[in-house]
Subunit: 292 residues, 4 copies
């Protein structure tokens, strides 16, 4: 089996990258994680699983969560969602306020911070306990019922997340946040602080490779069209300002997080999750991108 | 006396402007004030006072407060203040985040919102009870000891001031706010909500026409150089995006607020305050600017 | 054969879109072309050809030419090319100067106007007669030796292309144009004015679906890596500010032009070209995108 | 007489600044001028003249010419002029395209490059031989009939003025330039290349201190209102991005040029011109500003 061979070879290749890149330091609780951790897990639609390294160790999924909150929000709102957030790449840093001001509070896409805050707002509007609902969603999708928030990370982000707080208030001031700013931010900081392993993430993402059908839940959680929308968003907007480079090097719809995780899917074939905390200048996992 | 004649004639001229302009509606507590109120008071350095109309009625001084907080802050910080805030006109709306992001969190000048928030932060750093200290400052300068915050306006601004909250958090995220964001905003929203009359404002501004010497306090509260700095800031940055137009029509250092007030000084001769709530498109009092 | 059936059905679907969209009017010589023209041609790597409608009628390829000039330039410059032009989507209109100024004259990618001007400059630096060389390249790639510039269109663009002239001068002023501005613009306006049919374009693009190997020329004109780079650029930057939408609706690397043409490739399988002059708001062919 | 004493003392103060600042290098023909040249001339409305240093040596007036072309243009267009160019400070570098794009081709004011190009366009529209007419204007205003263009400087600027060429083409592409771009630029590059001495400039500016009345011509060339408009523009927009600083240090309406010249006026009293080629970071003459 080809995948098996690849997974045997990857650790040696990745080892050459040890010591390169930088662990994100702006979230204090993440700064202390060893940069040379590396794990990877791939689940095929047909049921095979491959993994290597620290694939069972949980890490902070950070912006990868944007895929899952968007997936939940898609179920609540139809196309009206896209009046509040665009679907095009931004060409700006993930936390920029500039484009948001020029475009009157309509974020470019739901995978940059401003867009994800609008999505969080949708969840707050539609769910009694959005944090619990999101956690349940991740647990059921991955089949691991002890997945949880890393409350130290959530608190650390809440204490230092001034730019996200600026974005949320700016959205509110432009009438594109319907709930209380603090409530939306609380969900946002918690979604970023979900701790999952590569195996769990690969499993939770498998429906994106399977036309929206979750094997874990034995039901479709996204329509085929919604799944296609999600994958095209990941392809064009999923890797901050390195979307073009990643499309060249990897060519798969993907979403990265500053915790060093990346998920990617080959539609119809597999989902894959990789983790290594040291980041490239663009904010994506150095070894993770190389492994993919 | 020339001033006496002018003050007799002004009301007739201003009456022609009734019904023009719009009262600021984005602060709910201000939206209900009749747009055709008009008052004006002028105090000369030599001790004469002239007034007309609703010159004794108190209104929300709003951004005019930026002159007085800056004046207080100048006493605490020397030139180091200007490392945190610039001294040039912005060419952007008073609450824009764009320039602030491009210029890495250094506001263009202390008379736009972002700059005034930095000044508030300086006051919070240096004063035990900055709100009380500011109130005392205004009371002593004007000689009216019942000047106070309009707490309904302050609450209204706190509840709806999302863009200011965005600015403050953005400054904090760029390490240009040293205190708690909420504490700085609390002072900021309160300073805007100070209620004063034209007579009180004219008196409180008289030192700006008098080389920094306050007759009410019988001492210099600004050096000659600081006074000159304040007046040049007012001249080039005091009227939002209508600085050039105001320099043409009026030609005096001035500062306006969205409550419809404007203060202005003729250095060496007089200070003047005018109030009329209906605003021009640029956010300055329509009848107030015409009267000046 | 599936393609045959699809090509029989397409005209009926496209007819429903007649009268929608707008023919580009800012290039006078293009404004008079009937908006409901429609042609499409698909060439497979294995040698099959399918076509329908006005697939043999030539039209102005406009920005589609950016793919072919970049392809030529890749042969002259190695990775040093990417010091002069980026590889990420721009999130701005195709002819914006704003990002170019903020990023000191380095265009975001070679498929927006500013980037294509840098590529034209590379061709002027490396070719004795770049216009003739480009024409020869298109002729050999497509196997049609009477392909030519539409000189009326080229003249029309030169006379009205003030924004492109602004971009070129701005690049020159930022030391990112090494040749004479007029010479670079002359090539640029001519490349846009090449007239080709869908069949010719499909044939000329076939190497992009074939790892860089041109069957018409019986040689590789791009390496596998260069081909992959080109396709990822088309995928992430090829459709102005509708890249995300096109990735969702079509999912293929593609490049559009305001003349109403679009080329696209399915790597390993086929290249396809479509033409219909009426455009969507984003500047891409309305019926063309629908057909793809 | 106070002025006489001041003019005797200035050279000693200025000598302390020798070796500071940088001569503008981006116009090759200006780069070779010794940075420590210094001249100054002041003409009072009542007819007195004071001068010191190299006050009779001619230099390239550069952007100071914007005052005189605007003065000419004011005579041709009434208030309609202000539909094509604003009257507010820009808060951006003098040659920025960013604000121009956001504001759809309407320059912020006539004293930045984009605005001055619109003014040049007005002159080209209204004058048979605008270069000759401008030269005649300067000659008559100053009373020196051998004032001329420095044709080497004009040629040097035409050859290297790519950003100005970008601005002119951008204006044309936004329908805010009615004549041929090259013709407008030719006038613009020539106006910048006028060579005049401090004495000549002080004389030519005297009407700005005299309600628009030119003693040299014995007639009013600007109305009182136009003169006031010019002075307020100089006060708020005349010194690039150091308007606020200059208002503080000097406090007079003024216009600087990168050739090291500055003119200023005290309305009702005097006009003054100063020249010293070494510039501050903001592009204004270092010793010139100090002397003023």
């Amino acid at each position: 089996m080809e995948f098996e061979k690849i997974f045997q070879d990857i650790p040696a290749h990745v080892k050459a990258l040890h010591g390169k890149g930088e662990v994100a330091s702006y979230i204090p609780a993440l700064a202390c994680i060893p940069g040379d951790k590396f794990g990877m897990a791939l689940h095929t639609v047909s049921g095979d699983c491959f993994s290597t390294g620290d694939s069972e160790e949980r890490f902070s999924i950070q912006s990868i969560s944007k895929v899952f909150t968007l997936s939940l929000a898609m179920g609540f709102e139809g196309d009206s969602l896209w009046r509040r957030v665009g679907r095009e790449p931004s060409g700006n840093p993930f936390n920029s306020l500039i484009q948001l001001e020029y475009e009157k509070g309509i974020p470019r896409n739901p995978l940059i911070n401003a867009g994800a805050l609008v999505i969080s707002d949708v969840l707050v509007s539609n769910l009694d306990d959005p944090k619990k609902a999101l956690l349940d969603h991740m647990r059921v999708l991955s089949g691991c019922f002890d997945i949880n928030f890393d409350s130290e990370v959530a608190r650390s982000q809440a204490q230092t997340g001034f730019i996200n707080r600026a974005l949320a208030n700016f959205l509110k001031g432009n009438n594109n946040l319907f709930n209380d700013v603090d409530e939306v931010l609380d969900l946002y900081f918690h979604q970023c602080a979900i701790a999952m392993s590569c195996s769990e993430l690969a499993n939770a993402s498998l429906h994106l490779a399977n036309h929206g059908f979750s094997k874990a839940m034995d039901e479709s959680i996204l329509t085929t069209e919604q799944t296609k929308r999600m994958n095209s968003l990941m392809l064009t907007c999923g890797l901050y300002d390195a979307v073009g480079e990643f499309a060249f090097r990897v060519g798969l719809p993907a979403k990265s997080g500053v915790g060093g995780g990346i998920i990617a899917v080959l539609p119809g074939v597999y989902s894959v999750a990789v983790w290594s905390p040291a980041l490239e200048a663009s904010g994506n996992s150095l070894a993770g991108a190389a492994a993919l």
